[in-house]
């Protein structure tokens, strides 16, 4: 009985944790949504334009 309680999957010895991404991981992913690109002074004629949408 004691052996079963310490080894059977239905009797975990440690507190169970949810199978989900950790809050820290989620925070990092969300922070990565707004990342900068790279711009530099133009050296060639424009090939496209950005204007209001």
């Amino acid at each position: 009985m004691v052996f079963a309680r310490h080894s059977y999957a239905g009797h975990p010895k440690e507190p169970v944790s949810a199978l989900a991404a950790s809050p820290r991981f989620v925070r990092i992913v969300r922070r990565n949504l707004l990342q900068a690109g790279v711009v530099a002074p133009a050296e060639a004629p424009p090939g496209a334009a950005t204007a209001v949408s």
Partner: protein, 282 residues
């Protein structure tokens, strides 16, 4: 390979550097996204979701993923760029393509009360009275996905959103141009999608704090992001934050350029650093 133009999502789409089959695939992609996410097409999935406010329904994987990104954008922008402003847009008179909106002497309708959206996997529920508008992320995502379809160097430009593979020189609002080396550029502003309601100018960039078209010193905000999605969300946030926009984007290290109605340019520190401080735009 010559540039290819077509119209989708209420704007002209320009594709450069793509093969014939890539151009066709990009055109299909825009058509499919518009069919799913248009607020003006009664049979779109977005219209079906909006008509189901007050109960939970199952949506397509594409819709669920896009809504998830829109909700992440809302969190990232501290509630500025949110997907639940469809009702406020309708109240302001944006009930169909803005190019077809005639002046209306009636004042804007009262904005609907704020509500929330529930999303868990493919299950979505809107509070009664809430109307989604995902335009804030759908066009930018389409541009990002479209440029990924190009095998070599090329670009996709839709309205103010430009994403490129390889370096591309891009003309800026109000004059000048810039070399886009990595990522994408997006411009948000109030000078194209606007209309008159009750004698007052209305536009599509709604301030969630007032549920009314934003009042801001900027007419157009251009941002360089790692993706078109990042650039578009950041540009909208910068526009809505008024005078605090340049500093807010600097805190995130995102280059941004702000244009007033008088064509005065304000660049934030990240943009000036990218330009080499003393090197002006040509």
């Amino acid at each position: 390979m010559s540039d290819h133009r077509f119209t989708a999502m209420g704007c002209e789409v320009l594709v450069g550097g793509a093969t014939r089959s890539e151009r066709a695939a990009i055109e299909r992609l825009f058509a499919e996204r518009e069919a799913v996410f248009s607020r003006f097409v009664p049979g779109s999935e977005l219209s079906r979701v909006n008509a189901s406010a007050g109960r939970v329904i199952m949506v397509s994987p594409l819709f669920a993923q896009t809504l998830r990104i829109a909700l992440d954008a809302a969190a990232e922008t501290e509630g500025l760029v949110v997907p639940t402003l469809g009702g406020a847009l309708q109240a302001a008179g944006y009930t169909r393509d803005s190019s077809t909106l005639a002046p209306d002497p009636a004042p804007p309708a009262p904005a609907p009360p704020a509500g929330s959206v529930f999303a868990l996997g493919r299950f979505v529920g809107l509070d009664a009275g809430v109307t989604l508008d995902l335009n804030g992320v759908v066009k930018a995502l389409a541009v990002d996905d479209a440029v990924a379809l190009i095998g070599g160097d090329g670009f996709v430009s839709a309205g103010g959103d430009v994403a490129a593979r390889g370096e591309l020189t891009v003309a800026l609002p109000g004059g000048g141009s810039v070399a886009l080396r990595e990522g994408a550029l997006a411009t948000s502003g109030s000078t194209k999608r606007w209309w008159l309601r009750g004698g007052n100018v209305q536009h599509h960039l709604i301030d969630p704090r007032t549920s009314r078209p934003a009042e801001t010193p900027w007419s157009q905000v251009t941002v360089c992001g790692a993706s078109c999605l990042a650039a578009d969300i950041a540009a909208k946030a910068g526009f809505l934050l008024r005078e605090r926009g340049p500093a807010w984007l600097d805190r995130k290290g995102i280059p941004a350029r702000f244009l007033t109605a008088d064509d005065e340019v304000t660049a934030n520190a990240a943009w000036r650093t990218s330009m080499g401080e003393s090197a002006p735009c040509i």
